[in-house]
């Protein structure tokens, strides 16, 4: 049993240590491995690379829209679903489906749906007098497309967590609120949300860990365009490494992203613990 744990640590730690070594070395294209030790040279180079910062900004914008919308929408939809009736479990099960569609398929299919000429999205929006939108030609709309696809793929996951947690809320508290004459909004903000804080925080963290890995959907839909408006950081590192063959710089970038992710995750975990304690 212990060997399994050791093996696992090695399997996970070894590539990371190797990546760290590459990030501190000059990359030797002859041996295709780390060459001379250059300390922080690659890191300084990356720091001065405006395209890296641009990809970080793009990633932040994507996260800033995608995560909160998914959480709010997910819990909102869960509230609708939890209305008791005979078809409830069927409606709930339909939300499993988008969740297991391969992200690359999701990206490709949405690319088809949002197509400016033949896509069905513009056709529907036309009924409401909207559009036609050239989804993938405008930087803001392209970002919106990415966020929409991501929301479609991941909100169902939040919905499924939320339905269970909403059902487990203590009923007597809500009845007490009603007796005290609280209206629907007061009940939501003063009773439901405070009770849900631990679940909200945990869901947010799980989604955060998934969302920082954003890659497939972008690759299958916008491929980062137009220009660099949807080049998320993972796509930029990928292209630098495997198209530009800048392995040392891309390893340095991957290390920066790794460390930042760990720091933010640790902060989020600490905050969620605090929030739980307050309750």
């Amino acid at each position: 049993m212990v060997p399994a744990i050791v093996l696992m640590t090695i399997v996970l730690a070894y590539p990371l240590l190797y990546a760290a070594q590459i990030s501190f070395s000059k990359f030797d294209l002859m041996t295709f491995g780390p060459g001379k030790w250059v300390a922080f040279d690659n890191y300084w180079k990356v720091m001065r690379d405006y395209r890296f910062w641009e990809s970080m900004r793009v990633t932040l914008v994507y996260l800033a829209y995608s995560l909160p919308i998914q959480i709010v929408l997910g819990f909102g939809i869960a509230y609708l679903i939890n209305a008791p009736w005979w078809g409830r479990s069927m409606v709930r099960a339909t939300f499993i489906i988008p969740m297991v569609v391969a992200p690359v398929v999701a990206g490709g299919v949405w690319k088809m749906i949002l197509d400016p000429l033949w896509g069905i999205a513009n056709y529907f929006l036309g009924f409401f007098g909207l559009g036609p939108f050239n989804w993938f030609a405008d930087p803001n709309l392209a970002m919106a497309s990415i966020v929409i696809i991501d929301i479609w793929r991941w909100t169902p996951f939040v919905v499924l967590i939320a339905t269970a947690s909403l059902l487990s809320l203590p009923k007597d508290v809500f009845e007490a609120a009603k007796v005290d004459g609280a209206n629907w909004w007061q009940t939501l903000f003063m009773v439901a949300i405070p009770l849900l804080v631990p679940v909200l925080a945990a869901t947010f963290i799980v989604r955060w860990l998934g969302a920082v890995k954003m890659f497939d959907i972008v690759l299958a839909s916008t491929v980062g365009g137009p220009g660099t408006s949807t080049v998320v950081v993972n796509l930029y590192i990928y292209e630098e490494a495997f198209r530009g063959l800048h392995f040392a710089e891309s390893s340095a970038m991957a290390m920066i992203v790794l460390v930042l992710t760990m720091i933010v995750t640790a902060v989020l975990l600490a905050v969620s613990r605090k929030l739980e304690d307050i309750n």
Partner: protein, 281 residues
């Protein structure tokens, strides 16, 4: 009882919730519906304004793309790689999970945090070094490379899921076996594994789904022989030189998604737990 109470108290609100939940779920299903529908269209029915809802269905797209040997080959690769990597991670991950659940180790709690953090490791940070190592030993474009690479990210999930499962089993069972002279490993194989079959099978399916859908490692570590379906789909979706090939995209997409959906519906609860576990306890 409670149903009656709710209806009496909020008659309108209740129906609004029911109706809107149905509408929202249909909205979320629509892209899948549209993909499946498009896969049965002929080229002339795909590119129309307005988009066609009724048409003469045909298997043309399926026949055309599944006759091309490369798609079938990639599908076979995907099946091989997904099942082998799931099997490997089940074997290693369940043993490690058992160790975490039963054997008192110093720092077992710290290990839990490490597993959680391992999910935060950006795959690209692993893809670069794994690619370089694989290239050094001439292991690129081989099934085994992808199998091991997938196992690296599957094992933490399996460990954590199975740890939870093992914790729910009563200790007395193995203790009896240990007293009867069984080794720790023997007790695990003879007593724990048979009892854990439902959990192991669900975790196996869960792991298979994750590697079935993986794109980045497949893109980086393979180029022809061992390529998987997600790479093919990324290629079809990104290929705009010959015009959008929606027939191919939707036919291959449907064939990729349908088996996963069927399996996922069987392991619903486990799937959600698998993806959420670690933080929601």
């Amino acid at each position: 009882m409670s149903t009656v109470a709710v209806r009496r108290n909020f008659p309108i609100g209740h129906y609004v919730r029911v109706v809107s939940s149905v509408i929202v779920s249909l909205l979320f299903l629509f892209p899948i519906f549209w993909m499946v529908l498009t896969s049965f269209k002929q080229q002339v029915d795909i590119f129309t304004v307005p988009p066609k809802l009724f048409f003469e269905p045909t298997f043309d797209s399926y026949i055309r793309y599944f006759q091309r040997s490369d798609i079938v080959g990639k599908l076979a690769n995907t099946v091989i790689i997904a099942s082998c990597s799931a099997l490997l991670s089940i074997v290693v991950g369940s043993m490690a999970g058992y160790a975490l659940a039963r054997i008192k180790l110093k720092g077992a709690n710290a290990f839990g945090v490490i597993i959680l953090l391992s999910r935060g490791v950006p795959p690209i940070a692993l893809a670069v070094p794994i690619f370089l190592v694989a290239r050094k030993y001439g292991l690129t474009d081989k099934h085994i490379t992808l199998i091991i690479a997938y196992a690296t990210f599957l094992i933490p999930y399996v460990m954590w899921l199975m740890r939870g499962f093992f914790l729910s089993l009563p200790r007395e069972l193995e203790e009896a076996a240990l007293i009867d002279g069984c080794s720790r490993f023997g007790a695990f194989i003879r007593i724990i594994v048979p009892l854990s079959m439902p959990g192991l099978i669900s975790t196996f399916i869960f792991s298979m789904i994750l590697s079935w859908e993986e794109l980045l490692f497949a893109l980086v570590l393979t180029n022809r022989e061992a390529t998987t379906i997600p790479v093919a789909i990324a290629g079809i979706a990104g290929d705009t030189d010959t015009g959008a090939n929606w027939g191919a995209l939707t036919a291959v997409g449907t064939a990729t998604v349908i088996p996963v959906v069927i399996f996922a519906l069987f392991i619903q609860k486990w799937l959600i737990q698998g993806l959420a576990d670690g933080t929601t306890k």
